[in-house]
């Protein structure tokens, strides 16, 4: 089921490149999760709140390795959420997170990536994997 987030999320994922792209995807995912968590009755089990925090911490980890990243990346917001089913909106976020994880995994395993970035990227990866797992568990 398409939501008002589906198209912006697709564009975001398709345009994401390199570390700046990872930061953008991660930041956007964090904002989206907090928006979802703030919806009345959508986060009774706290999954969205906890995942949102993990993603926020991952965002800071990514910025830690290169503080200039957030400036270059041009952060995005998926925009206000139209009234729609919780499941569909979470589905968009899970897909976004999946793209983020894929891109980040490629970057941290790239032999040309500096050690500092590999480490901060791997820490962020751990946080994002945890967020994705809890979202998938709550979603399915």
């Amino acid at each position: 089921m398409a939501t008002s987030w589906t198209q912006p999320a697709l564009e975001l994922a398709s345009e994401a490149r390199g570390w700046a792209g990872v930061w953008t995807l991660t930041y956007a995912t964090g904002l989206a999760l907090q928006r979802l968590a703030a919806m009345e009755g959508w986060d009774d089990d706290l999954t969205l709140t906890y995942a949102g925090l993990d993603v926020a911490l991952a965002t800071s980890e990514l910025a830690w390795a290169d503080p200039s990243e957030p400036v270059q990346a041009g952060p995005v917001d998926l925009g206000p959420l139209a009234p729609l089913e919780r499941q569909a909106a979470i589905g968009v976020v899970v897909q976004l997170l999946g793209c983020d994880l894929e891109l980040l995994s490629t970057l941290v395993t790239d032999s040309t990536t500096s050690g500092r970035r590999v480490l901060s990227g791997t820490r962020a990866l751990g946080l994002l994997i945890g967020a994705e797992r809890s979202l998938r568990t709550g979603w399915s």
Binding site: L31, A38, D44, Y50, S60, A63, P70, G74, P75, V76
Partner: protein, 456 residues
């Protein structure tokens, strides 16, 4: 749950009493046993002297004028400490502690532990490590009360000197040796009596409930562990108020903690409306717990776009993560009530009530941290600004269109300050964009059936 200062001092008093009783009922029967008993007695006098010095140590009196000028009561206590050191000698006689229980040594250990507990709250340069010492030893009344209690304890210990002398001689020690090791303590007794007379009601509100600033985590029981970790988080929330460059990520973690604690408390309150079996309910679910939970969510949502260069304190993240797991274990969300297997409902309720109180304190300190954030270090993407926030500011509006990163505008701080004030139950400062949400919560609370969560 870690031990309190008051518990340790009471323990010392009990050991002193047992020491006197044992001296009568089970006196030393050999010179070796006599020497060991005497060594324990001396160790206790030294511990009392050291503790008096600690109570008056400048570095444990943060906020006091430096150097502190002792008043008459404090000068008496210092003179007593000198006298006790003279009586006990500088070095412990304990060579090979006997297997027999030595209650005076036990009392000395308890007094020493109480001093160690105080020492965890400040570093040697006088910088406080916790919020509690500022409310404790900085107050002259609290210091006087603690000194009076110590004077009382010392007077009691010294009251055994004559009997101890008698028993040591009976045990086979030479009278001249005993006299040299147990010199006349009348000066100390006078000073101890004088010290003990300045006792007020303050100990109960002063140091009695003071715990170590960094309690060991009791992992043998989930409720104990929950209390210990919340105590650590409470201290870290205060530490953040002292930081030069606080991290907004810490504030995000604390906000999620606030959501979690209130949501789990709400779940338990709904299932067990009156678990204590008396007239006192856990708290008003609709009037307090749920609105507070939503307000913490508002804080978390407001903070999400914010960024600082400083990452979260790993200790804050770690403790909060473990608290989440513990809450799920002892007070699961949803319909099931599996927590009953972990602990009696009454204990779960008490632990949650305590946790809610800790989040109240954390909220207050988080608000102070927010006020101390250097604005130039806190940025956010302009696209995360709301329409209201940019309407009257062409610069922000342009930044939003151009997708730039900006310093968080004043309106963002105002909204968050409002949310923190509301979380703390003080929505007086409402001025910003969260007004509709806060108003709705207050209306809801007024229309609710009643009570605010019980505070103990």
């Amino acid at each position: 749950m870690s031990v309190t200062y008051g518990t340790l001092i009471r323990r010392a008093a009990q050991e002193v009493a047992l020491g006197s009783v044992t001296l009568l009922s089970d006196p030393p029967s050999s010179p070796e046993a006599g020497r060991d008993l005497l060594a324990g007695y001396h160790d206790l006098l030294r511990a009392l002297a050291r503790h008096t010095d600690q109570l008056l140590a400048p570095h444990l009196q943060p906020g006091s004028p430096l150097p502190p000028s002792p008043d008459r009561i404090e000068r008496t206590a210092l003179a007593l400490a000198d006298e006790l050191t003279h009586l006990a000698g500088g070095r412990s006689l304990t060579m090979h502690p006997s297997a027999d229980e030595n209650h005076w040594r036990g009392a000395g250990l308890a007094v020493g532990a109480a001093g160690d507990l105080l020492a965890t709250h400040a570093d040697r340069s006088g910088l406080p490590r916790s919020p509690d010492l500022l409310e404790g030893l900085s107050s002259r009344d609290v210091r006087h009360d603690a000194l009076a209690h110590l004077g009382d304890l010392t007077a009691t210990v010294l009251g055994s000197a004559d009997e101890l002398t008698h028993r040591l001689v009976r045990a086979g020690l030479f009278p001249s040796k005993v006299r040299s090791l147990l010199p006349d303590s009348i000066t100390a007794e006078v000073l101890a009596r004088e010290s003990s007379q300045h006792r007020g009601p303050g100990i109960e509100i002063g140091l009695d409930e003071l715990r170590t600033a960094r309690p060991a985590i009791d992992r043998t029981h989930p409720l104990a562990e929950l209390g210990d970790r919340m105590a650590h988080l409470r201290r870290y929330a205060w530490v953040a108020t002292q930081a030069t460059f606080p991290s907004v990520d810490d504030l995000k973690v604390f906000a999620v903690l606030g959501v979690a604690v209130h949501t789990h408390a709400e779940a338990v309150a709904r299932r067990t409306p009156n678990p204590l079996g008396n007239e006192r309910p856990l708290g008003d679910v609709d009037g307090t717990l749920m609105p507070r939970s939503r307000l913490w969510r508002a804080v978390a949502t407001g903070l999400q776009p914010w960024q600082t260069a400083e990452r979260a304190n790993p200790a804050v993240v770690g403790h909060a993560r473990r608290v989440r797991a513990l809450l799920a274990e002892v007070a699961p969300l949803g319909d099931q009530w599996t927590g009953t297997g972990v602990a009696p409902v009454r204990e779960v309720v008490q632990a949650l009530r305590a946790a809610v109180q800790v989040t109240d304190a954390i909220g207050g300190w988080n608000a102070a941290t927010l006020d101390g954030l250097p604005c130039a270090r806190v940025t956010m993407p302009a696209r995360a600004l709301t329409g209201d926030q940019v309407t009257n500011d062409p610069t922000l509006a342009a930044a939003k269109l151009a997708d730039r990163r900006v310093d968080v505008p004043a309106s963002g701080y105002r909204d968050l300050r409002d949310a923190y004030a509301a979380v703390a139950g003080k929505p007086d400062s409402r001025t910003g964009g969260l007004e509709p949400l806060l108003t709705a919560q207050l209306e809801h609370a007024r229309g609710g059936s009643g009570l605010v969560i019980e505070r103990e």
